[in-house]
Symmetry: C2
Subunit: 596 residues, 2 copies
Amino acid sequence: MAQKPSIPKGTRDFSPSEVYKRNYIFDVVKKHFQTFGFQPIETPSFENSDTLMGKYGDEGDRLIFKIIDSGNIYEKKLSEDVENAISIFVALTYIFRDVTTAILEDIDRYNLEFATREELYEIIKGKNLLKHYDNKLEEWGHFLIDDYKYRIAFTDKLNAYREVFLSNCVEFIYGRGIDFKQVRDKSDLSEHYFKWADRHVVKQFTTDIFGKIEGEIPNINKLTSDLLVKKISEKALRYDLTVPFARYVVMHQNEIDFPFKRYQIQPVWRADRPQKGRFREFYQCDADVVGANSLLQEVELIQLYDAVFTDLGLKGTTIKLNNRKILSGIAEVIGAKHLLVAFTVALDKLDKIGEEGVKKEMLEKGISEQAIQKATPLFSLSGSNSEQLLQLKELLKDSEEGSKGVQELDYIISSIEELGLQSANLSIDVTLARGLNYYTGAIFEVSAPDGVNMGSIGGGGRYDDLTGVFGLKDMSGVGISFGLDRIYIVLEELGLFPSAIDQSLDVLCVNFGDREALFALKLVRELRKSGIKADVYPSSVKMQKQMKYANNRKVPFVILIGEQELESNSFVVKNMKEGSQGTYSLDKVEEFINSF
Amino acid sequence: MAQKPSIPKGTRDFSPSEVYKRNYIFDVVKKHFQTFGFQPIETPSFENSDTLMGKYGDEGDRLIFKIIDSGNIYEKKLSEDVENAISIFVALTYIFRDVTTAILEDIDRYNLEFATREELYEIIKGKNLLKHYDNKLEEWGHFLIDDYKYRIAFTDKLNAYREVFLSNCVEFIYGRGIDFKQVRDKSDLSEHYFKWADRHVVKQFTTDIFGKIEGEIPNINKLTSDLLVKKISEKALRYDLTVPFARYVVMHQNEIDFPFKRYQIQPVWRADRPQKGRFREFYQCDADVVGANSLLQEVELIQLYDAVFTDLGLKGTTIKLNNRKILSGIAEVIGAKHLLVAFTVALDKLDKIGEEGVKKEMLEKGISEQAIQKATPLFSLSGSNSEQLLQLKELLKDSEEGSKGVQELDYIISSIEELGLQSANLSIDVTLARGLNYYTGAIFEVSAPDGVNMGSIGGGGRYDDLTGVFGLKDMSGVGISFGLDRIYIVLEELGLFPSAIDQSLDVLCVNFGDREALFALKLVRELRKSGIKADVYPSSVKMQKQMKYANNRKVPFVILIGEQELESNSFVVKNMKEGSQGTYSLDKVEEFINSF
C-alpha cells in the first residue's frame, strides 16, 4: 500500500531555486572567509555523546538528538542493565510501600508511642519491625533473581541498604506527620509513598548501582529514561559547530599551525519545538580564530562582517559591540557582582520592556534600589561611540575589569574608524549579552538594515577558554557566525538575490525525433563544453508540450533542429525574451556561444 | 575533568587540505551536472522512519540509524506500551512453562495415555487440566494489572488466548516427543520451553496485541528490541539519496516540471561495520532523470560520466553497460527464469571466481547442468561492442524481453559511437548486475583506469517505478552516482589534484607592532577586495615564529612593513619561492595585485 509521504516537522526540502539562493549566500560568505585567511574544516554529523552532553546546559542536553546504537539493543543492553534498573526501581518502591505499611500497622497494633525521630527509630529497631523488610527482601530477591534470571546481586545490594531504608522509613512516617492510627487505606498511603519515594529514595539507591548522579534529585521516570537513553545510545547529532571545533582542535593540535583561523559551514540539529523560522535542522556558518589573544582579531571580524554584507548588497547593517568585562564592571561598581547574570539578563531586555521594565525585573531578582539607581546612567548612554566610551570610562573608573573592557572597546572602535567600513555601522551596545556565560571579552551582534523586521542576522564573541573542557588549556578563541536562514529571508524581502540566480538552463533543443535529437546532442555537447547549460528535450512529444517546459524553466534560448536543419547542418535559435529568431551553421557554433 | 576527545568509529574529520580536495571534486561534478541541465535539490538529514524502513531490505533496515524521540521516552512511551509488552512477554513465557509443567505432572500422576495429538488434546480438555492455565492467569493478571497498574486488559487478552494456548501446549508436548514420564527436572524443561515458546507462541500473541507482524517468526529479544525502537524512535538518518528523492518527487509533484533532472550531493549514514574505505557517514553524489522513458537519457548519462572524469584528468575510465532485460532474457532462454537472482548473482562473480566457479555456484543454487550448458556462450563473449551485440542477439533470439534488451543496448552504443567520448571507454558487460532487483533497464558501472587498484568509482541504472511506493505510479527514473571517496583516492594516487589546491593564504604581513599592523590591515583590505587571500599575523611575536607560520602555510608572499615603510607609505614583498624582494608604494598597490 502506498504511503502518503511527509517529512519530519521542523525539517525542510530545498527545491532548486532555494538551493541556488542558499548556495549564493554560502559562496559569498566562503569567498570572504577565504580572502580573510580562514581555512575550512568539516566534522562528522554525529559525535560521541560524551563530547556533546553537558556542554550546553540542561536545556541543551535535552535538545540534543540521540542516535540509537545499531544492533539488537534489547539483547545487548536492556536485558542486562536497564531492565534490571527498571525492575529494581519498581521492586524497591513496592518493598518500601509494603514494609512501611506493615510497620505502621504494627505500631498501630501495639499502640507504640513516639515523639521524636529518634524514638521512632528505636521503636522500629527494638521491636524488630525490620523483619518485614527482610521478609520482603527475600520474597522479591527470589522473584527477581531466580525467576527472572537477573544477574546482579540484588539481595546483597538491598541488604547493604537496610540501614538506609530504616532512616528513610522514619523520615517518611515522621516527616510527613502521618497520623498512623488513622491510616487504614493502603492505596491512599501508596500514593503518598510513591511520590515521596521517587524523590528521596531512588536517587541514593541508583547512585549505589549506577554511580554518581549529579544535580537535581531525579524523578524515577526521568531517571529511567535517562539511563535507558544512555544505555542504548552512544552517539548524538551535532548541536552547534563550536564544541565540535574545540574537540577538533584538541584532537588535531599537533597538525595545526596556530593561530588557527577556521571556517565551517555545516548543518546542526536541535530537538526544539519547531515554529516559524525555527527549524530542527539548520546550517551554521562560523569563522573562528583560536590561539590568538590579540584584539586585531576583533577588528578583523568586524571587517569580515562588513565585507560579506556589503558583497551581498545588504547595506546599512549595524554591528553592535559590547564586552563582557564592561558588564562585569558595571555589576561590580553598583555592588551587584554576585547577581551579574540576573543583571545582564534584565539589561538585555531594554529594547523590549523599556527602562522601567528593566528596573522592575532587576528589583525582583534581588538587585537593590540603590544599585539600580547607580546603574541608571546606562539607560541614557548617548551620542557617538567616542562619546559613549567617555561616559562608560567615567562610570567604570573604579572597576579594574570594567576599565579594561572600556580600553578594549576603545581600541577596536578606533582601529575600525581608522580602517573604515564599506557599508556597515559599528555601534556600542552595553545591553548586549548573548549567552553571557560563554563569552569573556568582546560580544558582537549584527542587526539587519533599518526597516527590516528581523532579529539578529549574526553574532559572536571571544571566549578565553575554548578547548579547556577537552584538556587543552589557555586557548583563547574568538569567532562570528552568520545566520543563514535569516539572511536568506532579508535578501528575499529586499529583492537582493541576483536576478538570474535560478536560471538553471540556458538552451533547450526541441526534440523532433531520434535523428534530430542525436544531431542536437552534438550541438549540446559543444555548448556544454563552453559551460553553457544546455539540454535536448528527452522525447519527441508535441512541440507545444516542449515549449511549455521551456517556458516553465525560463529557458532564454530554444533551439529548433528539424529535417531541413539536419540537411543544411544548421540550427535555428529562438530568443524567448525578444521573440527573435536566427539560424547558425553547426560548423560555426562559436558564433552562437560568443553571443552569450 | 577533561575528556580525551575522540570521534565515533566510521566517521571522519576533514582538515583544510582534505576539504579543498573534496570540494574540488564536488565542484567539477556540479559544474557538469549543471551544464547537462540538472537542478540541485536538498532533503532533510532525517526522514520519518516510515519513509525509509522496508525500502532497502532487511539488511538495510538494520543498517539505518534511528534517532531517539526527544522528551522523556520512558514516561511518554515505555511506561505505556513497551513496558507492557516486555512484561507480558515475560509473563506469558512463564505461564506457559508453569502450566505445561503442571499438565505434564498431571499426565504423569494419573498415568494418562495418548498416541496422537488429538488424544492428548482431548485428555487435557477432558481432565480439565486447563484449570492450571486459569489459575496462573488469575495470579499473573492480578500481579500485572493490580499491583503494576498496567492498563491494558491483560486478563481478557489471555482469556481469549486459552484455546490457542491449548493447541500450542499440545504441539509442544507432542511435537518435541517429550517422554513426559521421564521429565522430572523442571529447569531442563524450562530451557526447552523457553526456546520453543520464543518461536511458536510469542508471534501469535504479539500479533494480537501489536497488529500484523510480517516475515520470519521473531526471537523474543529481537521482537522486543524492534518494538522498543519503534516506540521510542520515529525518525531515521538518510540511508541513500534515491528514496528521499522519490519521496521528494511525490510530495512536490505539482511544482515540478517533468521530466525532472535533479542532482543531489549530501551525506548518508549507514550503521555498517566500519572498515578500510567503508564509513558510517559518507557523501553520495547522484544525478537522476525522472519522468522520461527515452533512451536518450542513458546516452546523456554516459556522456556525463565522460565529461566529469575527463575534466578531473582521470582518462581511460571504462563505463560498463548492461541491461536487466538481457539478464532476464538469458535466464529465460536457458530455462532458469525462476532462478534469475541466483543466476545473476553467480554470473556477477565471473571476475572473481572464474568460469568454473560460476558454474559450480549455479549448480549449487539449483540451476540445471543443461541450463548452464546453454549459458556457456556468455563466458566467451568477445570482440568489440558490435561483435558482442551480434552474439547476444543470436543467443537471445527466442526471448522477447532479451531481444528488447539487445535492441536498447544497440541504440545506446551506436548513439555514443556517433557522438564520441572524450576519454572514457564504453564496454558491454553482461555479468554486471548491481542490485538487480532495483534496476529494470540499463545498468552502468564505471571502473578506474587500468593499473589503478580500485573497485567501481560510479554506477547507476534505470528503474521503471521509482515513486510507486509513495503512490505515484508509472514514473520511470534513470540515474548515475559518483563514488566520491574512491575518486578522491584515485586522484590522490595518480597525483591529479591541482598543485595549488590547498594554497589557503597568498599573502602574510608580518606583525611588527600595533601601528604597523594597522597599516598592514589597510593594505590587506585592498588585497582582499581583489580576491587575494591575505592576512596580518595576529600578534607582534618574534619574526622567526611568524616566518615559520608563513612557511608552514606555504604562503608565497610575505610582506614586511616596519617603521621605515610606515614613514614612506610603502611595503616590502618577499617572494618566498624565489627569495627575491621588492618594494611597492601603498598608493600603487595595484602593481602588486597585478603581479598575481
